[in-house]
């Protein structure tokens, strides 16, 4: 019952009724711009790029929404929004927003939406975005589509949000026809980063929060930043080398790391490697791990299951090393090598190392 994608329902909810009168005032496309600790999350800029297209198609404005703890951060983040396509930026600045907490952020967002009435509200499918989006949608009693891979405006002007289902073997398009705003989240790296337009500018609309620290029940005692060396930058790495069960042991997995190091890239793996404890969970690539979009992706001993495929399809060049010429990964790799990865990886690492050092000497 609840686990099936609802069959395109005939009549009832499926057909577009006239939008209820009180929703007709809802206009414009908004992007929540995540900027915890003063750093704009790249997914917000990716969303602004996509939001720009949606706003143009609808003939409305694109707004960034910036919630943060101080005015300086707000100004810097607003500038980044304008340079990535926003016409205006709503800022809510208050010390209680310095660290993300559900309560004040939900309050600020729902307040903004009820005051300025956007028709489309987009967030990154990050831990922050998912935590906030679920609360905001429930407070506003509107529809929220998770982890979309494609956003479009249909012939009737509604948001058509497409997301993978059943591990990526099918796609479904979900709409929120009779409620506003239409909400959706998108994972980092699914959309392309828009070009920065230096000097582009827009309007800032300041909105008050009216919430005192004493009114907020949840307190942030500490924030323990991940150690820089442990941080997987996978999602945004230009070169990613990954291994799968074909490598047969944690020791052999070091061959993947060695190649990644020579190439100045990051490394990751398929899900079974996380389950075996060969790599940490934040290095899993795929549907239930990271989506990556590198220029070069080298997959060694990975079969190419659909759940893995959906996380890597955005790569410009996919190189697959696999002993099985019929492995699924060759269905979507650009370059295939039917070979034993345990032998080839060290040779490849050596080839790159030698090539790069020779050319450096020559240059």
């Amino acid at each position: 019952m609840t686990d099936a994608p609802k069959p395109a329902p005939a009549g009832r909810a499926g057909t577009k009724r006239e939008l209820p009168e009180h929703f007709k005032a809802y206009k414009h496309v908004w992007v929540v711009v995540e900027c915890e600790h003063g750093v704009v999350h790249p997914v917000a800029l990716e969303l602004l790029g996509e939001g720009r297209k949606l706003a143009d198609k609808r003939g409305v404005e694109l707004a960034g929404v910036v919630l943060c703890g101080d005015d300086l951060t707000a100004a810097l983040v607003a500038a980044a929004c304008f340079e990535h396509g926003a016409d205006l930026v709503y800022t809510v600045t208050d010390p209680v927003l310095a660290h993300y907490r559900n309560e004040p952020y939900t309050r600020a967002m729902t307040d903004l939406v009820n005051t300025h009435k956007p028709e489309i509200l987009l967030l990154g499918a990050t831990n922050l975005g998912r935590d906030l989006a679920g609360s905001v949608a429930t407070t506003l009693l509107t529809g929220l589509t998770a982890d979309c891979t494609e956003l479009a405006i249909d012939d009737e002007g509604s948001l058509a949000a497409t997301r993978p289902t059943f591990g990526g073997s099918l796609l479904c398009t979900i709409m929120t026809l009779n409620y506003r705003p239409q909400m959706a989240t998108v994972r980092p790296r699914v959309l392309a980063m828009p070009a920065r337009q230096i000097g582009r500018w827009g309007r800032v609309v300041v909105h008050p929060l009216n919430l005192a620290e004493d009114d907020i029940i949840t307190k942030v005692l500490r924030f323990v930043a991940d150690r820089e060396s442990d941080k997987a930058q996978l999602a945004y790495a230009d070169i990613v080398v990954a291994g799968g069960l074909g490598l047969r042991s944690a020791e052999n997995f070091q061959l993947v790391r060695a190649l990644a190091e020579v190439l100045g890239g990051d490394y990751g793996g398929s899900r079974p490697l996380v389950q075996k404890g060969w790599i940490s969970a934040d290095r899993q690539i795929g549907q239930t791990g990271k989506t990556i979009r590198p220029k070069l992706y080298i997959a060694a001993g990975i079969s190419g299951a659909i759940q893995h495929r959906v996380g890597v399809e955005g790569a410009d060049t996919i190189v697959a090393i696999n002993t099985d010429p019929n492995a699924q990964i060759f269905d979507f790799a650009h370059l295939g090598v039917v070979a034993d990865a345990i032998e080839l990886l060290p040779a490849l690492t050596e080839a790159f190392r030698a090539h790069l050092s020779v050319n450096r000497l020559a240059g």
Binding site: M1, A146, L170, A320
Partner: protein, 284 residues
């Protein structure tokens, strides 16, 4: 202390196949399992109970056959199972699901004691939205703690809880007041095997079954398809890539020669890469 764990029964997606012609899901014979992410929540709840005393109730909204998953949870050591099942719930999206579960949780509070902690998993493996937990929290006014890696401190008498929450780029240590909704991160514990006693008890246990009316729901317009603002417009197969893989010839070459030709092919695909690598290896 009374703790409730929300669990969803899901198809074992590793075994789901899509019909190549009709693009429909071939569910026939696909076994169902407890959503794997929910087992981390269940184990955490059982550990708290073992430490502090009390009861663990598991709650599922689903078709009658979801009873099977609930019984499984009893074998792990849960004390009570509630199945919320009614045809009015069919076609629920996350908003309608959190409405129904919130109603059932309120009813559980009346019948078996108000739970200071409600657990959910991080997300499911089928719908995979991670929206139901926050939805329940909002509807019941519970303090929301998502992506919890560790419950560092819990004091039921003082009504306080401190947790470590996985955030972007680090861990937040949060303290708040009960009652709370906790969505548990994966991989933070391992579900126990369950004792023989629990297995016997589970086999004989009566599962509490509630309809919408039993859970005190009067507004059926907020349930199922009617209560769902989202609409699935179409379901379709992803387009296959037209371009075919280029296989690097491997016959009769040494590993070193093969490595050299793979490197050459990579540079052919990505002409700018060689220069970039050179700059990288030369250092700043």
């Amino acid at each position: 202390m009374h703790i409730v764990v929300c669990m969803k029964q899901v198809p074992d997606s590793a075994q789901i196949r899509v019909h190549p012609v009709t693009n429909t899901i071939m569910r026939q014979g696909v076994p169902t399992i407890i959503n794997p992410y929910d087992l981390f929540a269940l184990e955490e709840a059982l550990r708290l109970r073992d430490r502090l005393g009390g009861e663990v109730t598991v709650l599922t909204m689903g078709p009658p056959m979801a009873e099977e998953s609930l019984r499984k949870a009893l074998t792990f050591g849960a004390d009570r199972a509630v199945l919320l099942t009614d045809r009015f719930f069919a076609g629920s999206d996350t908003l309608a699901t959190s409405f129904a579960l919130a109603a059932a949780l309120a009813k559980i509070g009346q019948e078996f004691g108000v739970p200071p902690i409600v657990f959910t998993g991080k997300q499911t493996i089928d719908g995979d939205t991670a929206q139901v937990g926050p939805g329940i929290a909002k509807r019941l006014g519970l303090n929301q703690l998502t992506y919890v890696a560790k419950i560092a401190d819990l004091d039921p008498t003082a009504g306080t809880i401190t947790v470590e929450r996985r955030a972007e780029g680090g861990v937040q240590v949060l303290s708040t007041r009960l009652p709370v909704l906790v969505t548990m991160l994966e991989g933070v514990n391992e579900i126990r095997r369950g004792s023989l006693d629990d297995a016997y008890r589970a086999a004989r246990a009566t599962i509490v079954k509630w309809t919408a009316a039993d859970a005190g729901i009067t507004d059926l317009g907020k349930c199922g398809l009617r209560g769902s603002p989202t609409i699935v417009k179409k379901v379709f197969a992803p387009q296959a890539r037209a371009e075919k893989v280029r296989q690097v010839p491997t016959a009769d070459v040494s590993t070193e020669a093969l490595a050299a030709s793979v490197m050459a092919e990579i540079f052919k695909c990505q002409p700018a890469l060689e220069g970039e690598l050179m700059r990288f290896s030369a250092g700043p």
